[in-house]
């Protein structure tokens, strides 16, 4: 009986030598998440601004809640049978994709267009399962000018070429560019002795740069976020569930130009800590060998500790401590024996507003050696 009980908790990741025990792993993740969230909040509230507590406090709080939320959702999915074997064709970022993010709320006389981005994320797997390198990036921006009006009650006459009586006071275009590399290597068991209750783990290094160029009528302002030392860890809690965390320092460059002059670029400022926390749950939907297509889904919850693109979570009068949260659903559809798959998805960034994101992309075969 004890063996049967233990076996019921034991599952294996296909293609991986290491098996996991999802329930204790999720309990541990949830407990760690709760501890970090509590410790981060206490640190923020008790130590106070005097000692610059805000940043790690906010990140531990947000990341801890993401871990706790992921463990709870993962546990519910696990109870529904979601801890069984996973599928080899699980979702990863599309090799090429187009993402559309919705714009802001409509206002009379204003334009708040959505944002379109072309993304790429090809993978190279090292020989003999030694890890993988992913290059990723995007090019995009606002789909047209974003305009805002001056609502001061000064004018009651209609304005030519405009809706309403408020004059346009801000007209902005935005170009968004990002690039980076994500190197993942399996944590070298048995160098680090593995608990039987823990799943496999990976270590990651992800240097990255993000650029936003805002163009106004007569001036250009460019913001650059450099993340040179972002490191991460991925924990395979179950054959179908993973928790990934990234943390690193951040450097911010701000540059400006007026009247067609070249941008005045200078030295960086040290920014706040950067962090990302993701919980992925695979949902194999149609994986029969003789089916016309293979369909895998993935539910993702995440928290990003950065307000580089706005949209941070504010709680009551505590503004600016947290970044946005993400929830999304993506599906990979691969016609039988096809080397190319289609990937579709949608999700929402939740912060001081809600931005819905729709994605469509193609998955090409990975480069390099086989996956471990």
């Amino acid at each position: 009986m004890p063996n049967q009980f233990a076996e019921a908790w034991r599952h294996c990741v296909p293609g991986m030598e290491i098996c996991t025990r999802p329930r204790p792993a999720r309990w541990l993740l949830g407990a760690l998440g709760l501890t970090f969230a509590g410790a981060g909040t206490a640190y923020l509230l008790l130590v106070g601004d005097r000692l610059r507590a805000g940043d790690p406090g906010g990140m531990f709080g947000g990341g801890g809640m993401a871990a706790l939320g992921g463990a709870l959702l993962g546990g519910m999915v696990g109870l529904l049978g979601g801890d069984r074997r996973g599928d080899r064709d699980r979702l990863r970022p599309s090799t090429f994709a187009l993402d559309y993010g919705t714009g802001g709320s409509p206002r009379l006389g204003e334009r708040h267009p959505g944002e379109l981005a072309f993304r790429f994320a090809p993978n190279y797997f090292f020989p003999d399962g030694g890890g993988r390198l992913r290059l990723f990036g995007h090019v995009g921006g606002l789909l047209g000018r974003e305009t805002d009006v001056d609502p001061r009650p000064q004018n009651s006459e209609p304005l030519p070429g405009q809706e309403g009586t408020h004059p346009v006071v801000l007209s902005e275009n935005q170009l968004s560019i990002g690039a980076g590399a994500d190197l993942a290597v399996a944590l070298p068991y048995p160098i680090l002795r593995r608990s039987a209750h823990l799943g496999a783990a990976e270590l990651r290094w992800r240097p990255e740069v993000q650029v936003r160029r805002q163009t106004y009528d007569d001036r250009v302002i460019e913001r650059t976020m450099l993340l040179p030392l972002t490191v991460g860890v991925r924990w395979y809690l179950s054959p179908r569930q993973r928790f990934t965390a990234y943390v690193g320092p951040r450097l911010d460059f701000t540059s400006q130009a007026t009247g067609g002059e070249p941008l005045d670029r200078g030295a960086p400022n040290i920014g706040s800590l950067y962090g990302e926390f993701w919980y992925d749950i695979d949902v194999p939907m149609l994986v029969k060998p003789n089916a016309a297509a293979r369909i895998n889904g993935m539910l993702t919850l995440g928290y990003v500790h950065s307000r580089f693109d706005g949209n941070g979570i504010n709680i009551a009068r505590a503004y600016g401590f947290l970044g946005p949260a993400y929830g999304g659903w993506h599906m990979r559809i691969r016609p039988r024996e096809s080397p190319v798959a289609v990937q579709l998805g949608f999700g929402a960034w939740v912060g001081s507003g809600v931005t819905a994101v729709f994605s469509a992309g193609a998955v090409l075969p990975d480069l390099g050696g086989r996956r471990r």
């Binding site: 805000g54 007209s171 040290i270």
Partner: protein, 423 residues
Amino acid sequence: MSGETQRGALLLGLGVALGLSALAVGSCAQPECVVPDYTDPECRVIAENEVGRLDAAVGAELRFLDPSGRSGLDWEALGLLKEPPSGALEARVATLGDFAIGIRGAPGEALTLDVELHNVDPNTVISLGPAGAGVDLPAATESVLRRRLGVEVGAGEELELRGRLPCPERFQLAFVGDIQTNPLHFERIMERLREDVAASQEEGDPILGLVLVGDLTEASSDDEFTAMLRIVAGAPVPVAVTPGNHDIVRSKVPIYNSSFGPGSYAFEVCGARVALLDSGTARIARSIEGRLPELFDRDGADFLIAATHYPLYAGLSGDGWSREDQPQVILAELAIAEADLIVAGHMHALRDDPEVHVGSQELRQIVVGTGGADQGLGVARFGYLRVGLEVGSKPRACFVEVPPLGWAGLPNHALPTLPYCED
């Protein structure tokens, strides 16, 4: 997974996608702030402009004007006008230095208006008359910040009530923020400021005003604002204010604007342009973002100082803005305008960042959230910042520590880049 479960998951997915699409499409476009929410900075822009003009029941219309005359607008949000149920019309001047109020008489009826000016330096020369032809009124007889005037205005007549502050060759401005639950200690800071104002006047380097960089209250309650108005009314120098996140908590009442007037405005005091930005919600209104070049336009001023509640450069702290792009855009605009100093609050501490890099320029930011609010662990450092301004010299900044009762001396030391002021 069974076929039914798959279909259920697909339907759920389609439902969520449709919901998100509905969010994307949104509802009909309406003007800003049709449903008032004063935690939205754009609604506060409307509120601060509404209280800068008064169509009084007694028959006259009053409006704050730009004293420099460079604004093309009918009125500017540079003060707060009120008509109490009885007594004089009240005009709280939000700026330091010069001010102007336009008065238009009722058609067909001459009036005598009883006007009480608040927050006006006793040395200010007040003039009254048609635009460009004002006559100076007798000087103040009391050294308080309020003046009561009787204004005779003919039927349909337009007058201007102007204030002109005589400017010394060098002067100082004081800054502090974050009082919240400790107005009692803020009163001690004001007592110390009163002593320093008297001493600086004798030394020929007078303190001309105090700038409060937000968080005057803890919960934006009426009682808290009433208490702060009482303390500020008794200040030794005029006080310019911008709100903090604790001052704009109430979404249905523009309590900050109806107490102090504008939160985002700029003025010039003796050759120093001071631009205050309402960052109470950790973001500024997009319309204010569009007006940054105008607000930071020196127009010949010798100095440019920007003051916000939220620091534009958060440093290693996570006390950042809700929209991170905005402080960086403001920094870039300040670099273009070659600003001399940024003063902020929010962090309950004294910090000096002498080199905030913006392009190839360096801006100086001083955080002075030392007005009395809880500073967490560690020895609290309360007090205010003094900035000395003299044409041809860089601004001189120093800090005046006002410790809580019980300390035999000063419990803290000066920062490496920011000295304590000499007594």
